[in-house]
Symmetry: C3
Subunit: 351 residues, 3 copies
């Protein structure tokens, strides 16, 4: 039987080839729209994509991420006590309809906790298409229990986790040409030059999470973490019900922030991400975007980079969230904040 | 940011190019079937479609309508107090997989209400494919608030709203040949000649609306009207919960009336439509079809037109609905009637 | 109107051509994954499928079954009091994207019950692609009421129902070559040689059934049996709510048993099946697989057959189910057992 791993099953340097390569289809792309409400024209309009130099409609970056991530769950995090974080997520090549994705991971760190019952495993995961071109990679760390508390975890190695992806390591396809960008197709004329560092945008069009929608999305990604699907199991936990896959919340927030970030093209990096509170069916998700940094891209005058902080909020209008952290405990997230993600997008330059 | 418009933002003659062109895929067609229960073979059977002269399976007329309509919401009706009506909906050309649709609107009328706080905007919307061929058009009017009650709305112009689409203005593709129509593929031998003006057909196979199904459908159409998705917002309204997109109810009623109207091929026109009562998740939809008119088509002996009235009913078997209007208030719809739509279909002639 | 049949409408030897041929698309395949959680790489990976000799990704056997079965409901079982059973289900040829399936049935038996109000109809159903190649066939029997209790049902004929499909009658495509089977793509190295007759595998990753998911699946198959969709109707029955289509439970159990049966390739036969208790939205489905028989295939050393018994269980971990039948009534199923299906799969031979 395909096994799921515990802390003692990992060793630094170990390489894991994840099962179930996946060919991405038009059906996946349509379901992504139906399940998240995404409206970015790059991922649903042949004319818009070809105008920018794409040979055909590319696959939504977050759909690529979820499918690639889904491959790794069985081996890395099926037994996880907590998905602690991810960093250095780089989208290195576009994915198109018919591409087949497979994922591999290398263990880059391990640390047993002082209770000797669990610990942290760090992996570097890499995603390839059918031509063995890398399309995506990330670092990730999870807390795992031991299966056998007597098992020895010989070494401790904590890898360097990058604070953010260096703009120099960001890949932008050479065929992409944003010079003739068509603002009529996005509904906004706000380009790179129009955003200001420190600027905050509230996204007040909420999306309520329904049980079937989040489970369908997570099934689509073939992410088989049990806590999203098994109500009978979850009723016995402190949560009392199924948990929503954190990636689904990223997708909802990213769909919501189209209104205000209409001309952002691709996600080229996720610098870091925290799922600060759980989400359940019935919660309504809002979002807030903060512009963290602006970068030009060497050799390109057609587009620039925006580094953004995207805050996901449940059951509270973004204009009513006065502080992301608790006012009396500034290291703890406000109880309505469910996501705090730092990512980088391309956007046509304008002035 | 892409703006949403208020009453004072419109002027007669103004032209609006709606954002987010959309390429229609196999995934969209499958989702339409899964979300509505549609069983018409023309939209799911290559052999059936090619037997009728189609080069491939066409896209369901109502899916085309919903996607085209979804483009217009941001600019026309995001702030609407009420979607008052539509008329003169003409399906002028078939849409196929891979076609990219875009929508444009022209303001054809405006009238401030006497309260000076809101008014009515009338638009003519037109939908084109990637070859700039018109595939669909309609007239529509919505009630919009002013953003600024002091704003002036200088002119009043109420356009002529046609009572119904003149059969002479109905487009039927030249390649469509219904002469060799295969009744075994629809399950009924009832053709144009078998329907009688005034005849009523009860469609008693109810479909219960679930929250995820209506929101997924509305997301698929990229219709971003907030009241379908944001439970947190809607809890504070008189409705107390999310409203179902009226177009989803048309699709459900149209799927239900396959049983009884098996051989109707295309919707060629929607003459008028009223969403007479709201629908919510949990409601079960039934339908009733009344044959209003029969028309021959000049130059064609293979098919004719039926003008139909399709009544959507919630939580009441159609045989139990004795009057569409309230018996003691004949201008007010029966509280269980949710849809009253007048449309025209093609159907093979038979005798 | 397409009619639905009652007991007296059937006669032995009668042939029924079912309506609504259906072209299978990428959208259907993606929805199947999203609605069931299926992870078998043969049905989602171009590289995996082509490595085995397939020209492209084949359609999941159970999706083929459900779509083909859905065609027959209107004529055979729309009025059924009970779907009593099916047998001799043979998957005779692979189905690919773009294939159009149609179903036909022949009445092979009829028996009026002694109450003279209802009886049993037996049919043999056969499914063809657009090249008129048979891809699937089965025997099935349903209990149907009379429409008119005075109607005569002249003959009684009970056909021979085969206990199981003879392995000699099982079709395996000549192009399929399991010699170079890639276990890294399935996550398990357990092949035909590793399974033991009598062995039991518990599948403890439960899937909770949601109302929208089961109705979307059943709509996707265009199965129009009213009791899955019409809550208003079902509230008046002893069930009080919508019933889940039994086939959806087969699909969920089959998706769950990927964990433990990773290298099973195709379902080549369903020998028999019992839906022993109803399933409703909110139930969580678990499964148990028992290895019944192992067979070599004449002339092939690359793969063998496993005959499996797949038990579907609701709201109870499989390890907690001590007996499939009630301990004090061994002919009655345990109240948590919802499915007992006997089927045969191909699997690479190994040793």
């Amino acid at each position: 039987m395909s096994k799921s791993n515990y802390l003692e099953d990992f060793a630094v340097g170990q390489k894991i080839v994840h099962a179930i390569p996946r060919t991405i289809s038009e059906g996946d792309a349509s379901l992504y729209i139906a399940l998240t409400g995404d409206r970015r024209p790059l991922f649903c309009s042949e004319t818009f994509a070809s105008h920018l130099g794409y040979k055909e409609i590319p696959i939504n970056d977050m759909l690529v991420f979820h499918i690639a991530f889904g491959r790794t769950v069985q081996d890395i995090s099926l037994n996880a006590i907590a998905n602690l974080g991810y960093a250095d997520v780089r989208f290195t090549s576009s994915v198109f309809l018919g591409d087949t994705l497979r994922s591999e991971s290398t263990v880059i760190g391990i640390k047993e906790n002082s209770n000797k019952k669990n610990g942290i495993v760090y992996v570097y995961s890499s995603v390839y298409n059918q031509h063995n071109e890398q399309v995506l990679s990330w670092q990730r760390w999870v807390m795992l229990p031991k299966k056998n508390n007597e098992a020895l975890v010989p070494t401790t190695h904590i890898p360097e986790i990058k604070d953010h992806v260096d703009p120099k390591n960001i890949s932008i396809p050479s065929y992409l040409n944003a010079r003739n960008f068509d603002i009529a197709s996005t509904g906004s004329d706000k380009l790179w030059g129009d955003y200001l560092v420190g600027q905050t945008i509230d996204h007040s069009h909420g999306l309520t999470v329904d049980e079937t929608a989040h489970t369908m999305a997570t099934h689509l990604y073939q992410n088989n973490a049990r806590l999203h699907f098994d109500e009978h199991l979850m009723e016995k936990t402190a949560f009392k019900k199924r948990l929503v896959y954190g990636g689904h919340i990223i997708s909802l927030c990213h769909a919501i922030n189209f209104q205000g970030m209409e001309n952002a093209l691709n996600i080229v990096a996720i610098n870091s991400g925290v799922h600060s509170n759980p989400t359940f069916a019935g919660d309504t998700i809002y979002a807030k975007t903060v512009v963290l940094e602006k970068h030009k891209v060497e050799g390109r005058s057609d587009l620039g980079l925006l580094r953004l902080r995207l805050i996901g909020i449940k059951n509270l209008e973004p204009s009513s969230l006065h502080s992301i952290m608790q006012e009396d405990a500034p290291k703890i997230y406000h109880k309505n904040v469910v996501l705090d993600i730092d990512y980088t997008v391309t956007i046509p330059r304008g002035n």
